[in-house]
């Protein structure tokens, strides 16, 4: 018992010391930072805590902070009365943004309490260069001004478009901002509007930065969605919702932006005839893979339309007539990227062409007409015509390529490439269903092979048996005589029929089947002779005769003095048949 108490005492003492220790030498002023290394894109929170015993604590004197810019501050006091003793503490938080890189020092901070001055230790902070300019701000572009409505709230949302009167098909950017000055326990749930009336395919861009408004530092989350209006007229983008879940210390909130109205201008009416709907700024160029070829040997004509705009829905150029060439449907590949908040990229169209005659052939210029919303006018760009020298074909052909020709099966399949483009059968609609396992891998499949074997074998056996039975009916009857007799006895007992009549009938039937000859008409003497001739012992034969005699008499008058009574006659008959069976 004592042994256990000693370590427990030591532990208790240790705990007490640990609890009291910090209080003993504690300075009434402490300073701490939430991080000791950061980049110039970030801010550091410096928290100064002052504990006083009486009265209101005085604010600390902040020394000059070289290399830092104070971007915000907040304070809070806490007063406690415990057992009549009064104590107070105050917390001052300063948000500092580094404007220099390297090891920056926050010097010691002093406070005077009850005539005595206390100081904190200096804190060293390591600052690295961030991605953005030292002035901070959003990841891209100039620092964004905080909206006028934002004036000290904990959270605030806003949404706007960069151009409220775009042309149909012109890119606009819908920006959603979430200003937040408190820490969130859980991530907020962003619910964007449906953007009905707009075409939008790119992933929204997200940026994060800090800004100051009303004396508070806000963390700003910005979501930029690139939109292309598809219809003209006034379109209202419904509000974006932001569900901020409540944390341990904070209350949840459901925030909603104002709806944004976009007045989409229709394209001017004076569109050229070859305008097919491209809006933006584009260039066009054309190349070929070969400038020297032969009749029937294909050339790939590549036309690239690139620039700024809705590349994904860019209409195909109007292909000019190509006399002297046989052309095939074009294929296209699309490349897009977001560059400075604008979608840029290109669509590359490839057309396979086969020269049908020898000589110097020309691929004509391809024109592309688009509407430039910045200049508010229709513009046309063109490729240069391309000259191609076509030599006579490998087999001397100078005339038309015949698509009905059988594909040349042999080395080099240049000709067949072209036929493929035309002759490839179209894809099929997809339906449900998957490959079933090969049945040969299922054991039951192989077991089923045995069924006909067994079937034929069983049938063979059954047929054999039938023949045998037909040929040996007497023998079979003889073999089954006892079984039949026993069954008849059982039935007679069950039905309670006249034992004399039954016993006589059963015994005679048994003997008839066993001996394979009728015994009904025989006298007792003849039957005895027959049985003994068949090798039955006289005693057993006599027992059988006895039964028959008793039955004969019993059928007409009750038998008084016989050992064979009606109640045991059938059992006795069964026993005698058993004995006869052994002898016969």
């Amino acid at each position: 018992m004592k042994r256990k108490l000693i370590p427990a005492g030591i532990i208790a003492l240790l705990i007490l010391v640990m609890m009291v220790w910090p209080a003993l030498g504690q300075s009434p002023i402490t300073a701490e930072v939430d991080r000791t290394s950061l980049s110039t894109d970030e801010t550091v929170a410096l928290t100064v805590r002052i504990n006083g015993t009486t009265g209101n604590p005085t604010a600390p004197e902040l020394p000059p902070l070289d290399g830092f810019q104070v971007v915000g501050s907040s304070s809070g006091t806490q007063i406690r009365v415990v057992n009549g003793a009064f104590s107070s503490s105050a917390t001052y938080t300063y948000h500092l943004r580094p404007i220099e890189t390297g090891d920056l020092v926050i010097p010691s901070i002093s406070v005077t309490l009850n005539g005595q001055t206390y100081s904190t230790d200096p804190i060293t902070i390591q600052v690295t260069q961030g991605n953005a300019p030292v002035q901070s701000g959003p990841v891209q572009g100039e620092p964004q001004a905080a909206p006028a409505e934002l004036n000290g709230q904990d959270m605030y949302v806003e949404a706007f478009v960069d151009n409220e009167t775009p042309y149909q098909g012109e890119q606009i950017t819908y920006t959603f901002r979430f200003y937040n000055a408190v820490s969130l326990g859980n991530p907020a749930n962003y619910e964007p509007p449906s953007f009905t009336g707009f075409w939008s395919d790119t992933e929204p861009e997200q940026v994060q930065y800090n800004t100051e408004a009303g004396g508070r530092i806000y963390n700003v989350n910005e979501v930029r969605t690139i939109l292309f209006p598809t219809v003209a007229g006034e379109i209202i983008i419904e509000p974006t919702r932001l569900e901020v879940p409540g944390g341990f210390f904070t209350r949840g909130a459901n925030l909603m932006t104002r709806p944004v109205t976009v007045d989409v201008q229709p394209l001017p009416p004076n569109a050229p005839a070859d305008f097919t709907g491209a809006v933006g700024q584009y260039q066009i160029d054309a190349t070929v893979d070969l400038t020297e070829t032969r009749v029937n040997e294909p050339v790939t004509w590549q036309v690239r339309v690139g620039g700024y705009g809705n590349i994904d829905t860019l209409p195909e150029p109007i292909w000019p007539e190509t006399p002297g060439w046989r052309d095939f449907d074009s294929t296209s590949t699309i490349n897009t990227q977001v560059q400075d908040g604008r979608i840029s990229g290109s669509q590359v169209y490839e057309k396979l062409l086969i020269p049908t005659e020898a000589g110097q052939l020309t691929l004509p210029a391809v024109n592309y007409t688009y509407f430039d919303p910045e200049q508010a006018q229709y513009l046309t760009v063109s490729t240069n015509p391309i000259m191609i020298n076509v030599a006579p074909g490998a087999n001397g052909e100078t005339a038309m390529f015949n698509p009905d020709d059988t594909p040349t099966v042999g080395a080099g399949g240049e000709e067949t490439v072209m036929e493929t483009a035309v002759a490839l059968k179209a894809i099929k609609p997809l339906a449900e269903g998957k490959i079933s396992q090969p049945v040969t891998q299922i054991p039951i499949y192989w077991l089923l092979w045995l069924v006909p074997v067994f079937g034929v074998a069983l049938h063979y056996g059954w047929q054999k048996r039938q023949v045998y039975r037909q040929q040996n009916s007497a023998l079979i009857r003889s073999q089954q005589a006892q079984k039949k007799a026993n069954k008849a006895i059982k039935q007679a007992q069950k039905q309670g029929s006249d034992p004399y009549a039954s016993a006589s009938q059963i015994l005679l039937t048994y003997l008839t089947e066993k001996l394979n000859q009728p015994v009904q008409g025989l006298t007792q003497k003849e039957l005895t002779v027959l049985l003994t001739d068949e090798g039955v012992a006289t005693a057993v034969a006599q027992k059988a005769i006895d039964i028959l005699t008793t039955c004969e008499m019993g059928r007409y008058a009750p038998v008084q003095d016989s050992h064979l009574q009606s109640d045991n006659l059938l059992d006795y008959t069964k026993q005698v048949i058993g004995e006869l069976e052994k002898e016969l």
């Binding site: 074009s330 296209s332 059968k425 609609p429 449900e432 269903g433 049945v439 006909p452 079937g455 049938h459």
Partner: protein, 262 residues
């Protein structure tokens, strides 16, 4: 007596039918929409369509139409080997589809390598080719089993009959069934043997050197090109042993250059 025979026949037929129904049910599968994949194809975005079809296959929707469409998507991108591979997979599931046959022929016409003696000239070979062109593996396996049952039933009925013209007719029918059974069983056997010993594969690299052993240090024997149809004999590490049609010429290629049908 006749009643018993009839009962016996009915039980046998029910067994065969029951097995058929069970297989039909196992072929049911959940349906994943392929509209997106087909849309991509129709819009000429073949690389994206290829990916979409591959995903559908990975998710279990592997039927002849998906493999066929995937083959088309590869064709459009000029990947003849992959196209042939997928057309052959489609054809194994739908051997009588004329579109698959047509596109496979187009793809084959673009391959560089030609092998002699591809078509069989013996009776069994011709018959095997005909069966393969018309029946899937499972159809052939079930046909052989069905003929085996019919043969069994025919023998029983024949033995049960008392003679006369009917019996002669049954004897003839049973003999015919027997002949058909032997042929189908032989064809099935040769298909199982080929699948296990000479699994079909296709070269899916533009050009690949065939070496005498599994490694680059071995002598280069010849080169094969995209779309060459070979038999895959063995895979050892990063190398695969191939046999050309006929089975006499063999060699090794990097395993990534060849893809098996199965």
């Amino acid at each position: 007596m006749k009643q018993k025979t009839a009962l016996f026949t009915i039980i046998l037929m029910a067994l065969v039918f029951g097995v058929g129904v069970a297989w039909a049910q196992s072929a049911q599968a959940e349906f994943e929409t392929g509209d997106v994949a087909n849309q991509l194809y129709e819009n000429g975005r073949y690389a994206a369509a290829t990916q979409a079809y591959e995903q559908l296959i990975a998710r279990g929707m592997a039927n002849s139409a998906v493999y066929y469409n995937l083959g088309n998507a590869y064709m459009q991108q000029g990947e003849i080997g992959q196209a042939i591979l997928n057309y052959k997979r489609a054809q194994a599931l739908a051997p009588r589809d004329p579109d698959i046959a047509a596109n496979l022929a187009l793809a084959r016409a673009q391959t560089v390598d030609r092998f002699d003696g591809g078509a069989p000239d013996d009776l069994v070979g011709i018959f095997n080719t005909a069966v393969q062109a018309n029946l899937t593996f499972n159809q052939l396996a079930l046909l052989a089993l069905g003929l085996w049952f019919a043969l069994g039933i025919g023998i029983i009925v024949y033995r049960q009959m008392r003679g006369g013209r009917g019996k002669t007719a049954v004897a003839l029918a049973t003999a015919l069934t027997g002949v058909l059974f032997v042929i189908s069983a032989f064809s099935l056997g040769s298909r199982i043997y080929d699948a296990n010993n000479f699994p079909p594969a296709v070269i899916v690299a533009e050009e690949v050197n065939v070496t005498s052993g599994p490694g680059e240090q071995y002598t280069v024997q010849f080169a094969l090109h995209d779309g060459a149809e070979v038999g895959l004999l063995e895979t050892r590490g990063q190398w695969a042993k191939l046999a050309l049609p006929g089975g006499e010429t063999t060699g090794w290629v990097p395993a990534s250059a060849v893809e098996s049908l199965n």
